[in-house]
Subunit: 356 residues, 4 copies
């Protein structure tokens, strides 16, 4: 599974297989566990399998535009991390919806741009934002709480999260694979350095696993209820759910419906699929990038060219580049750039020999 995440499954069959390893309902049925790094991974419940099957089996007629490639993976649970998933559960519009809106705005003015692809590229290049707001997508996401806390900072989305005030959280926690067990970077306060190895890696994984399991077990004791709904001690009351949840660790999984428009989805992906983003959220962003490609392929191409693969250059940076093109000498002192800025600029143009 690990290999597939981030590049996205290439066929419905692959996805179907993975689906069995995930769950977004309680009342798990007792199927043989799959283990990785000696952690048992939860499986799909009967209820959940049935729900997906029902959703996927419907064939409705609509006069709305459809996105054929996205329809193929609609409702699929694409695995993310060890217990998470990304599901596209609804959408509205496709590439032509952007073009339609732009042509209303610009009227005859758009006739100069002859093709849909040309128009979408033009809009992307010149930061015309409103036509991209005309498409909407809704995801069902399962993710660790500490990642949900990063994610929710994107305010321009609609969210319905599983509430631990009302219901008991599933017994599922994120545990990094050993190759993702990075040390703190010594050069960068927010970054990761090399991977921890040997005994220290084992120790860390054991601490994470033991603490998550113990706090979850105590959560059940406080609730006086197991995650399958059975009561522990008939003579006791349970602590209020809204209180007991505070004992859980931040790697516990939660889930939500997350709906946003195409413009804000791209803003999200631009930040979260970037290599500066935390690995754990990037895994989700990479999967979503793939759903973007299926949904609005022309917009996806323009987004990759102008946003993801592009660069911004400051006024001072432009002067440096102009001199470099002319073959003139330029030093960091003359440029007015800080060392950090200088190096970022040189790196962007692969001028590694000029980095200092």
């Amino acid at each position: 599974m690990v290999e597939v995440v981030g590049t996205a499954p290439t066929s419905a069959m692959v996805i179907t297989k993975f689906v069995y390893r995930h769950s977004w309902k309680t009342n798990l049925i007792n199927i043989k566990g799959i283990t990785r790094d000696s952690i048992t991974i939860m499986k799909l419940t009967k209820e959940q399998l049935k729900e997906i099957k029902n959703q996927q089996s419907q064939t409705n007629n609509t006069k709305r535009v459809i996105s054929p490639e996205l329809e193929k993976i609609l409702y699929d649970a694409i695995p993310a991390l060890d217990h998470g998933f990304v599901r596209v559960v609804d959408y509205m519009g496709d590439d032509t919806s952007i073009v339609q809106a732009a042509r209303v705005s610009y009227g005859k003015g758009t006739k100069q741009v002859s093709t849909d692809s040309g128009l979408i590229k033009y809009l992307m290049r010149h930061w015309h934002s409103t036509p991209f707001e005309m498409c909407e997508i809704k995801y069902h996401i399962k993710l660790p709480i500490f990642i949900a806390r990063q994610w929710i900072r994107h305010r321009t989305a609609n969210v319905n999260e599983y509430s631990a005030r009302y219901s008991i959280l599933d017994k599922e926690f994120y545990l990094p694979t050993s190759e993702n067990l990075a040390a703190q970077s010594t050069s960068n306060r927010q970054g990761r350095g090399n991977v921890l190895e040997g005994d220290q890696a084992k120790e860390v994984l054991k601490l994470l696993k033991d603490d998550a399991e113990r706090t979850y077990a105590n959560y059940e004791i406080m609730l006086n209820e197991r995650y399958d709904g059975s009561t522990i001690d008939e003579n006791k009351k349970g602590l209020a759910r809204e209180l007991a949840r505070m004992n859980l660790t931040l790697n516990t999984y939660t889930q939500w419906y997350w709906k946003t428009d195409l413009l804000n989805l791209m803003n999200f992906l631009r930040l979260r699929a970037d290599h500066h983003a935390q690995y754990e959220i990037r895994v989700y962003a990479d999967i979503m990038l793939d759903t973007l490609k299926k949904w609005v392929p022309i917009t996806y191409e323009a987004f990759m060219d102008y946003r993801v693969g592009g660069t911004e250059i400051s006024a001072k940076g432009k002067l440096v580049i102009k001199k470099l093109i002319k073959g003139e000498e330029i030093s960091i002192q003359d440029s007015g750039l800080s060392k950090r800025e200088w190096n970022e600029l040189m790196e962007a143009f692969n001028l590694n020999d000029k980095m200092i």
Copy 2:
């Protein structure tokens, strides 16, 4: 298409006739005009008829949920005022999408509410907002600019408006029918009083019509271009469109794509379908209320009961009502209410004899 349009209140026949009288494209074809209050009303263009026909003739298969009643009127141009229209051009979700989101949020907690209808009513009553954000709708609207300026104040929507920087506006202006030619209220600064009559009504209509036509004609002269695209004087340049438009009057029609979620649609309708709203925007809101009913019928019922037909009572007002129920005497002096508040309260409960 034509047969379906007639879901609006009055009659299908009338509406059907009107459909042909509206236009959202330039290049009008020359069909015999229809007059009302001696104003020629524009007709649908060939291009436009073809576009609607094309949109409505598509039948796509989708795994998404659909709203059968809304599908029936999808893309129809429902007439509004003398040249405007409301078209639903896309949507996402239905009543079950709200229920689905709520059940994810509240998990097993929602089992107490056994039916979809009961759950939606509960959500509406207790101002649970996020599940209603899970549905989205997109309209194509043609409307006078002075109404567009009220409308745009609802910020939580996505908008692409026809741009008069790029293109020439159609020669279409709103002129009230004589029964809507209201005098300024003398008791209420924002309200309308009785209808103007006789010569004064005729004079006002003539002023509105003449000024709109003259300023439009001068708009063409300044542009050196007629609205059909032909040049007026080959030896002259035209004033920039972004400047010439400033000569148009505020009853000129514009158009836009307007997309919002169900929660914000209801916030819009609550204010704009209210009897305090200006008549001209209420015409649009009333049509949209009807599309709401087709789209999400259960939500519509709850909305009408709790929001539109409901009342809010202040803390002081509650004390008054409590005394009235007990049959106790209560005077405005004792109540702490202002005269205006007192009367609003009495009116809400049909206690007209207690109004002062």
Copy 3:
């Protein structure tokens, strides 16, 4: 302290005393601990005391309007729960700013409402929202993560949260006092029932305390760094902070700057100071209600009358009330209300004998 929280301190002196018991910096100075339920409560750091003193000692001249009562408590750390606080750190506008904006909007139309107080009440009663958006406030809040997760769902605010990707979280966790250790309600999925007592209460508190301390200690081990910045084992690397944080429990404290306008503050308070809100967030909302009163006293009065103390009645509910006022018989069957709705209505008007 416990007695004061929620009703808000009544004098600057009281606040000053409490200030010493809270902390939003690391590097705690070693002052004698205060214990409650055998949990040591953190105290202010030297750095923090100095920062507050500096902020409070400045006296700047401004032509802007000021709110005299709010100035008195500016920068004070008002205690909330066991380690949290609420600080007002900046604001813009006062009651007159609302009036000024309304008078621009409504021009001469507002002359009918003669006083500022009358105008503000009118705006509140008729849901005129934009004038209340003209005032802005910024808080510095320290709060448990599980409460922060509820809070952040209010999207119309600006937030800068302490980042555990960059920095190490303080060793502070929320532990309920014994009187707040409520059992799960058996009648209401989200509610609290009676308080847990005796041995079970002690057991729960011990579990919460032990789990928080153990997971925090293991957090330090994984980081290979103590919260005072000292290294644990010079021969080891530390796990990346962005990963190690996942081991912390949800009652760990975080902090943020939270800025919003007056309208959205009232929307927040309406929901979070309500008795349906979780006790732990209500503690914060109650303190903020008190800052609202100091900041914009006229608006506060109108808010309490129309929003907090008021009631909404559905169309069906109105019919019931009308009949009750007339002294007519009315049964739940005739009303069309559900049992739940019926009881909510009767309770709102203290008609407890009619509840079923």
Copy 4:
């Protein structure tokens, strides 16, 4: 007051003169008119002069941070176009507020960036948005309606506009100076070409002036009320204001309070102070850029360097620049760029000889 106004760039004297030519109240006092392009320009009213004097004469003590340069021009009416103005009427925070918020977010992590200036530049370069949201500013703006319609599309602001439903609009219309009377660009659908000259210019100005005056005069006739509040014909009723306004042209002035945070102000300025923006809105944006400089001078510098003076380059564009730096041949065919993109790229780096 008059003496204080002159803080704007050019000279106090010039600005002082202009101040007298603007008005945001009705009830104009009768001072000798000043003419430009033979259009009488309105003057300040007594009421307005008094209001500004009152606002500017207050000296309040505050513990809040202040921005000394912005205080100097607080409440001043800085002229814009022929009858418009920009007034800063309130603000919250300064450069240090951004730093303070960033240091809370990034904690010890920010210690690497030693100065406030360095930190703000870092935040700007890496699109860290939330710290810039911690500052807020409120403007009072008078502007033509067709510009207001562009402006209002920036949704992330709080607005209270003068309502022509309630009050009568001032008799003030925007008329371009002859040097701004641009022809429609023939190469660019949204652009301006050369200036109209001679008789055509005179004709256009006359049309604009006459149509604005006639429609305003008819507006008064329909209202049966002059803009000074006097009744025209005692025996007639007036048309409702909400209707009569539709007869006004789009160059009629309106006014509003407009409040936004620093991040969204910069987003606005980035688009509206750009040379692609319509001249008439750029006049306002330029004035606001100057207020930005006074308010948060460090942020202003970073904004000019990274946003206004900077450039974005697509992935394909980067490859072209890399080759140019290496001195390699590159043609548009090899680049994969469209002609338009190629030329935009060459222009950005002053490689005019490479444009095709």
